[in-house]
């Protein structure tokens, strides 16, 4: 399984990551190994087999759409790197 330098940069972009030159080289080296290994799943015969959706067969667990107040707005905001007037603050977008 081959993966190119361009693909690594593309994947990093999709994942919102910026890799240094050194990291790109290292990732390129490791990913080849790891993908070769991951590719072995294609040796399993899965004709007529459905995909699993999880560990159990539990599917679409519904509940009533009811509002439950958490109550403490300040504590929810307390981990924000920057906040103002009870809101999360980000740089200007538009």
């Amino acid at each position: 399984m081959n993966i190119s330098r361009e693909e690594i940069i593309h994947i990093a972009k999709l994942a919102n990551l910026k890799l240094t030159e050194e990291e790109i080289e290292k990732t390129l080296y490791n990913m080849k190994d790891i993908l070769n290994f991951a590719n072995t799943v294609n040796n399993v015969n899965t004709d007529g087999v459905d995909e699993s959706i999880g560990a159990t067969e539990n599917y679409n667990v519904f509940r009533k759409d009811e509002i439950k107040e958490f109550g403490d707005r300040d504590i929810l905001l307390s981990n924000a790197p920057e906040q103002e007037d009870g809101m999360f603050k980000i740089p200007k977008v538009i």
């Binding site: 910026k18 790891i34 290994f37 995909e51």
Partner: protein, 489 residues
């Protein structure tokens, strides 16, 4: 004998008989932490001062009859990916270095409702991604049996703390072996429950369809006691199952007569260290002597389970870790001009190498052009794994395997080779893929004095069966009496 050497059920008996007080217990553990933590480095955050104050409060409550729970006043250590209100939950990551959860995980609610006492938050591989606890941003935890070796991972802090008697028991989490493998490396008992048995609410998600919280304890009885406390349906976790709660202490019966045990031959292949293999075969013999029926069996898909696991786990991780953007909580970069810079630079600076590697792999297998060949295929193989387990469990009550192909390895020997590190999970990942319960129980030490654990795998919701089998082995052998960590340097 010091109090910190006792199991929790022994402490409970002494409390019940009023031979000791809650403060005696807490003090004993705090003293032990003060003595051993500098060598073992198991904790990210210590809450020993709070623990000593709480011990006094709980002691009063017991005196005044305000709490009758036998768990009252029992200390515990918590893996640092389980949210604890008011105490940092870092996931051993720079990303969450200063994160204080605004709420308690459901398992913490249960622990706090019983007036148990938290001694601290335990080290782990960053976001639970690793098998050695070397990928922690903060420190490397050492194996109490040999301080040059890793404790395993990702719940390495939890297993090392229990093994070195710094906590009487601990909670860990297991996505591909993260409770069982460190338990095996540290000579303690680790149980990964059936998927859905324990609420994941407040467990920082790594791979949501695989993660489970479970107990790491000194013996099997304690494992059943702690499991009793943490199970149960939780409306805050839609994957937690609404089933009747069992009392697992009822499973602690010294009898395996007629129990059918399968030995899947794929778990005893070339990759398994010969000493480990021999130790597990000795366990099989012991079970036969005790009246169980032991047979060889086969589970061909095992050879592909690890690759399947890494595809699914990394795909889910890349999605779960998308939430870390430097806005609402977590690390925010200082280098930014616009919003996109905040996302990219916060993530690139906040995540460690292994976490980034798994996000990259996960993003790759989910990306256009590769989704079918990797992710979709892996989800089909997941079905094959489940079907093969179903077949085996129509014939056997439990499966017996090694927990890990080797004993604990030396610090630094695998951290530069990610693929080799992944292979450490080869015996444990199938259990998570199938959503099954598994327990690791220590059985012996190798020629270097390092513990070896065996794994018992049960069918869905048969924690009672694997606990009974584990308990029977423990009652008829003497691992804890004959082997103690040496803290050798």
């Amino acid at each position: 004998m010091e109090l910190y050497e006792l199991t929790v059920h022994e402490l409970m008996d002494k409390l019940e008989n009023k031979e000791i007080t809650v403060t005696d217990i807490t003090k004993s553990y705090v003293d032990r932490i003060n003595e051993k933590e500098k060598d073992v480095d198991a904790f990210v955050t210590l809450t020993t001062d709070e623990a000593l104050s709480k011990a006094k409060v709980v002691e009063e409550k017991i005196k005044n009859g305000e709490t009758k729970s036998k768990y009252s006043g029992i200390p515990i250590g918590i893996k640092d990916n389980i949210c604890t209100k008011g105490v940092k939950t870092t996931c051993a990551s720079r990303m969450l270095e200063n994160f204080v959860a605004p709420y308690d995980a459901t398992v913490m609610d249960k622990i706090n409702n019983e007036n148990m006492i938290m001694l601290g938050k335990l080290n782990m591989d960053e976001f639970a991604m690793g098998a050695s606890t070397e990928y922690s941003y903060f420190k490397k935890t050492k194996n109490p049996w040999d301080l040059n070796r890793v404790p395993g991972g990702s719940s390495g802090g939890s297993a090392a703390a229990v093994a070195s008697n710094m906590v009487p028991w601990a909670l860990g989490s297991d996505t591909g072996g993260s409770i069982r493998q460190p338990s095996s490396f540290c000579g303690v008992v680790g149980l990964k429950p059936t998927y859905g048995l324990v609420s994941r609410y407040g467990l920082v998600a790594f791979a949501s369809s695989l993660d489970q919280i479970g107990p790491i304890t000194k013996d099997v009885t304690d494992s059943a006691l702690l499991l009793n406390l943490i199970t149960g349906h939780d409306s805050k976790d839609t994957t937690s199952l609404d089933i009747e709660k069992k009392d697992y202490t009822k499973a602690l019966v010294n009898d395996v007569k007629g129990l059918k045990i399968g030995l899947p031959k794929e778990y005893f292949g070339d990759g398994i260290n010969p000493e480990v293999k021999k130790a597990i075969m000795d366990v099989a013999k012991k079970y036969e002597e005790m009246g169980a029926i032991v047979e060889d069996c086969s589970m061909e898909v095992t050879d592909y389970a690890l690759a399947t696991y890494y595809i699914i786990a990394c795909a889910e991780a890349s999605s779960n870790l998308g939430r870390f953007d430097g806005i609402r909580y977590g690390y925010r970069t200082k280098n930014f001009e616009n919003l996109k810079d905040i996302y990219i630079n916060s993530r690139s600076e906040g995540f460690g190498e292994e976490v980034k590697r798994r996000i990259m792999l996960g993003t790759y297998v989910l990306s256009s052009g590769y989704y079918d060949a990797y992710y979709k295929k892996a989800q089909k193989v997941r079905t094959v794994v489940k079907n093969e387990f179903d077949k085996l469990f129509s014939k056997y009550d439990v499966l017996l395997t090694p927990t890990s192909p080797t004993v604990a390895f030396n610090i630094g020997t695998r951290s530069n080779n990610p693929l080799e590190m992944y292979l450490a999970d080869i015996c444990t990942v199938s259990v998570n893929i199938g959503g099954l319960p598994g327990i690791s129980v220590p059985c012996t030490t190798n020629s270097e004095g390092m513990p070896i654990g065996f794994q018992l795998i049960g069918n869905h919701f048969s924690e009672d069966t694997i606990l009974r089998a584990a308990y029977t082995y423990e009652q008829n052998t003497n691992f804890r009496e004959e082997n103690k960590p040496t803290f050798k340097k």
